[in-house]
Amino acid sequence: MGVMPFAVLPAPVDALPPGQVAVAVVIPAYRQPGLLAEALASVLGQRGNPPAAAIVVDDGCPTGQTHALAGHYAAAHPGRVLCVRRRNGGLSAARNTGVEVALAAFPACRAIYLLDADNRLHPPFLRRAMAALDAAPPRVGWIYPDIDMFGQPASFANRGDYALLAHLSDNYCEAGSLVRRSLFETGLRYDEAMRSGFEDWDFWLQAAAAGWRGRHLPESGFQYRRRPESMLREAERMRDGLLQHLRGKHAALLRPRRLLALEAEEAPRFALYLPDKGLVRLQLDPNDDDGPALLPQAARQRWLAAQESPGAAFFPPLCCFADQSALALLCGLGLAHGLFWHAERLLRDHMIVPVEIAVADQAEIALEVASAAGRVATAPLVFATTEGLTACARDTSTSWLDTVATETPQPRMALLRVTLPAAVVPRPPTSAAPLRQLLLEVTAMGRALRSRSRVPPGWRQDARHPRAAMARRAAAQVGLGATLPRRPRHGAREVGFVLPLLSFGGVERVVLNQAAVFRAAGWRTHLVVAGAQRVELLPGLAEAFDSITMFAGLGEDRLDWEGDGYFGAAVSQFAAAPEAPDVLGLLAACHVVINTQTPACHALMAQLRRGGTRTFAGLHVTDLGAWGEPTGTPLMVNAYEHAYDGMLVISEQMRSWCLGQGIAADKLHLVRNAPGTPLPARQRTALLAARERRQAAGGPLNLLFLGRLDAQKGLDRLAAIIARTQRPGVAWRVVGRSVIGGHAQPWLPVAPEPPVTAPEDLAGLYAWADVVVLPSRFEGVPLTVLEAQRLGCAVIATDVGAVREAVADGEDGWLVDHTLAEEAIIARFVALLAGTAVPRQALLAVGPRAAARVAAADWSANLAPFLAHLEAVLATDDTP
């Protein structure tokens, strides 16, 4: 065997003029003079272009041998070795000094290589690395090698495309990389405060955050001296602390939105097989169509590469075989993101998850998990894990997988059933193509595996984690599980609304209207229903939200009522639930999350906030408990006030309450309610005129109760009021149903009509009514009041909550003192309705005045200050 090339020192040659140096090799030197000579020899022994010069930075080495040796080399190789002595500052400082010297002394230097004094290079290294850098696009800032360790021999492969997402969890870019001059010229340097290690990782992440990327140099010939004790070994001992420091310093890179954007770019989560189109799309977001569209064979090659080299090549970890029209239907309803999220969760324990779309008469959307036996053959979407399909492909027997469509399938499966209203989908879409494509693909995968070259992909150990898991690992670093597969759009704001249910209640309609305003302002809006897998298809729902996700049974009911809580308010244990990371993943990419009355989710807000999300609570009303004590959302929010950036209060009354609780004034945003349904001005004018004509004609007095038939609404009072006012010339209607339940409902003298939600139906009800009665025990600012006022109804309501802010007693409505005795309250309602308190004409005269005032109420105007506030605070965020 010949002499190792590292030891071959070429004879001194003519001096290399500084203007001809194309690559500078910076060698920090501290206490390793003997090894330094070897490093220098390997630089001087580089073969061919580019002309290279070494800069030895004696980092205040206590042994004079270091600078003497460097000086001798410099004298023997003029222009090819420089030596600068500096006061000890650590590895980063020494590298930075070398970089400064290189930039200043070598004007034609195109790149700088960082070589540690105990490492060495094979002779072709710089030639190849420089050629790779020259051939790379300008955003490639550094060329990184494989690592061949000597001393304690081991070899590590770093092949494959650079992936920042993987770099967030593993530092696979060796400090001994060739760095483009222009990268250093932007001012990027090694962090001199990081003296315990990982400063190279930090440097790469700085560069990546600035938009630079790395590129791997195959078979590079970088030689790393590994000894049982070294700086790296020391750093590994302090790994946890150093990682924590890195995560803090590079928090912007770990923002969930950034991670999702990276995932979409580098590691799209789904391989979406579209048999109708004969294509496979690799994409994160089912709503997107901008992921790479591949022919199945090309996709299979990628899959094959990822199977052979999981650390180097990527293929999506999840597959979805989809009927195009069914997928489009789900996307159009905003359900696809949530459905894919549910499928991902189910695929942790199941190999195949078919999706069935059912149709029901009710105007609601429902999601349930059911047995998949016999349901997969015509499922329009079939999800599977790549790992599971690969296992099947490796198995030469297909009998096991062939049972998938039978009543007794052997693979573990679960069915996701989406139920849609018949009004939306007259007939449930089915297709045999997805399963057929899945089975064909498994067969083709098996064939591809067996016809693969026996030349292996490489011999070095790949210590990196599989690329298929890199997005999941990065998300886990910030406490997230399955994230909603939604690709952030550059410049688009995202807002998430969290509700405990979506029925026809006022709070839901407030949220619906707020979301519509956000969306009209260019935001992407997302509804997360925590605690129900069934939502009413309220009018305007589809227009208000880009996505709708619902879940139940993931810990959202984990409220701890034991102990004292916070002044009696419950404490949420949701954050400790095993599923909490997944739920956080639903919301983490939002710029803003508004939690309206979802108690358990308060416990998630602090973590969302740490991830860069602005968190707000929607406060509507302080409830009363069984003992008449204040209770409900505001009290609980008060316990979690620290986790919220602010509160949206609908009334001055609620703002005062919050101030009284010690919440800072600038955290409180008054967003008043407005009528919950749209009503065109012409229709309104016509309806008001019709009522005026009817009342002038002396028709009967039409009385209306409209709302939830829950105890809060004073149903016992209502029953008494109706009983005492029923007589000829008076017509009563009660419209609504119980939502909360839990209390025995009193018998009402008038049979309740089912609730209405359509704007035209509501308008018809209010147009019919002369008076709307609201004998509630507690309220916020009921939409019923505002909507009734808009159409000229006289409103008689108990003076609770912030009703006073919507009704001026005697001016544009009537208030009944709620501090009176029950009998007196009922008597006052009866007196007003019977004309004994005020004449009927006076009673009704408040209606037109209220209509005139409410006509100006507008959700956009009410939300405008809050939106402006959000834009102002988000403008300072470090992630777009």
Binding site: P5, V81, N88, A105, H122, F150, S220, R452, W459
Partner: protein
């Protein structure tokens, strides 16, 4: 305070030349330029002190001096003020203290400079002496290691050679091959395996119609260093459809590099040489380079490994001038590869028989009173001193058999005993040696000529005395070459025909 330097002067200042830094304006400073040291001036300027080479115009942008050069002999100042400022800067930017010399003039500084220079010389001399001592220690260490390694290899080499372990087996796809372009065959195939332990590789020739002078050059490269770890020159005659075995003399040591095969030859218009491609698909990174194929495929190729020293083979194609392999230590038996045996010329009553995974060996059948020849026309022996043939009786009555080993010029093809003669250059024989009674194995040793050619022809001659009528079977089981530890000078009386046993 900052010390500045002109950008274009920075490389020279840090470039390793022993230098002086002198306060600009020091009386007689020009004289210091005569000392043979680099002379640099220290001058107050904008923002602090400026460093500039003596006699050079200051025409370039200034940059802060990041540290101090390694070979600064002294800083000569006349005034305390700039000296103090420079010392303060030094303490913030560089280790230790500056080698200050305070003197009113250059002449006054000379004694101190001389002392400093002398001290530097002394330090350098001490370091040089220490360096020599270290070299001695390293040389002794290396020599001990080499001796130990040689002993280990000898120890390993005297053991029975190991069958190589398959490392890679890419089978050929009939009808699909890679060949020359415009008369040039230049193919490169990464094996993507580590070179450590590689003992042989094989390529599958699909088609070969080369003229007599044609030669295929094959190199086994370490991709990371571009070094050739194996090199073969395969003559046209050895290029036939089928697997082409290329053995390394010994398994490669711990070489942590990627194995790459390079094939090259020039072809005449009427010549053809094509190599089979693998019967499986490869991604572009693993496909053969130099021959675009769609879909991408690798060459059909095989590779084997063996532990260090446990398989020593003399490939007839091995190119000693290119590959960085030294000869194996003395005493190691270098066996002959498959292709040497495959070229055997045998009488009609002989056959080639393979046992286990080994290459087929000749088995000769001898009737009473018969003589038989087995010839290996091309036996590589370059650099070796001794040939050893192992003959094994495969049937009873072997004691009636005698054997002799003949050495003839390479390519000889004697067919009968009468054609064996000692008048050809380098010809010699071992003399008749009987198969020992009670032991079925006979080892015949034959000393090689001092100026041994790269190849010789080796002939095993067997004869059987008159006796039992039934045929006797004898196997030529092994042929190996060895270097001798200290080959004795060839005695003048030792004729070309002196048997090797005379040496023992």
């Amino acid at each position: 305070m900052t010390v500045w330097i002109h950008r274009t002067a920075l490389a020279a200042f840090l470039g390793g030349q022993a230098c002086l830094l002198v306060q600009d304006g020091l009386p007689g400073q020009e004289a210091l330029a005569e000392l043979g040291l680099g002379l640099w001036l220290l001058r107050p300027g904008d923002g602090g002190l400026h460093v500039l080479p003596a006699g050079a115009p200051a025409a370039d942008a200034l940059v802060p001096l990041p540290g101090v050069p390694a070979q600064l002999v002294a800083v000569v100042v006349a005034d305390a003020a700039p000296g103090a400022a420079f010392e303060a800067w030094w303490s913030a930017h560089a280790p230790g203290n500056p080698p200050m010399v305070v003197a009113e003039s250059a002449a006054a500084a000379l004694p101190a400079l001389l002392r400093q220079a002398a001290e530097r010389l002394r330090e350098t001399a001490v370091q040089a002496a220490r360096g020599q001592q270290a070299l001695v220690a390293m040389r002794q260490d290396a020599e001990q290691n080499r001796s130990a390694l040689a002993a280990m290899l000898r120890s390993a080499g005297v053991s029975r050679p190991m069958e190589p372990e398959p490392l890679l087996a890419a089978e050929p796809l009939p009808g699909v091959s890679a060949g020359p372009r415009d008369g040039v065959l230049l193919l490169r195939q990464t094996l993507n395996v580590m070179l450590e332990g590689v003992t042989a590789v094989a390529l599958h020739v699909a088609l070969a119609t080369l003229g007599a002078g044609g030669v295929l050059r094959v190199r086994l490269i370490g991709a990371e260093s571009d070094r050739a770890f194996g090199a073969w020159q395969v003559p046209a005659a050895a290029l036939r459809p089928g697997w082409l075995m290329l053995d390394l003399p010994t398994p490669l040591g711990p070489v942590r590099e990627t194995a790459v095969l390079e094939l090259a030859t020039l072809l005449e218009p009427d010549e053809e040489l094509r190599f089979s491609l693998e019967d499986a698909l490869a991604d572009p990174v693993r496909a053969v380079e130099g021959h675009p194929s769609i879909p991408a495929r690798a060459l059909a190729v095989q590779a084997w490994t063996a532990p260090p020293g446990r398989r020593c083979v003399l490939s007839p194609y091995w190119d000693w001038d290119v590959a960085e392999q030294v000869l194996t230590p003395p005493g190691i038996a270098m066996t002959m590869p498959r292709e040497v045996w495959a070229a055997a010329r045998l009488p009609e009553q002989a056959s080639m028989v393979a046992l286990g995974l080994g290459a087929p060996r000749p088995i000769l059948s001898l009737a009473s009173g018969e003589t038989a020849l087995a010839t290996l026309p091309w036996v590589p022996v370059r650099g070796h001193d001794l040939l050893e043939a192992e003959v094994i009786a495969r049937s009873p009555a072997a004691e009636e058999v005698e054997a002799a080993l003949w050495l003839l010029p390479a390519g000889s093809q004697p067919e009968r005993p009468g054609e064996l003669a000692l008048d050809a250059p380098g010809a010699r024989w071992s003399g008749w040696q009987p198969l020992p009674a009670g032991r079925p194995v006979l080892t015949i040793r034959l000393r090689l000529p001092p100026r041994v050619p790269p190849m010789v022809c080796t002939v095993l001659v067997l004869r059987r005395s008159l006796g039992a009528p039934e045929p006797c079977r004898v196997e030529w089981a092994e042929l190996a070459a060895r270097r001798l530890e200290d080959p004795p000078p060839e005695p003048a009386e030792m004729s070309e025909a002196t048997p090797l046993s005379a040496l023992r």
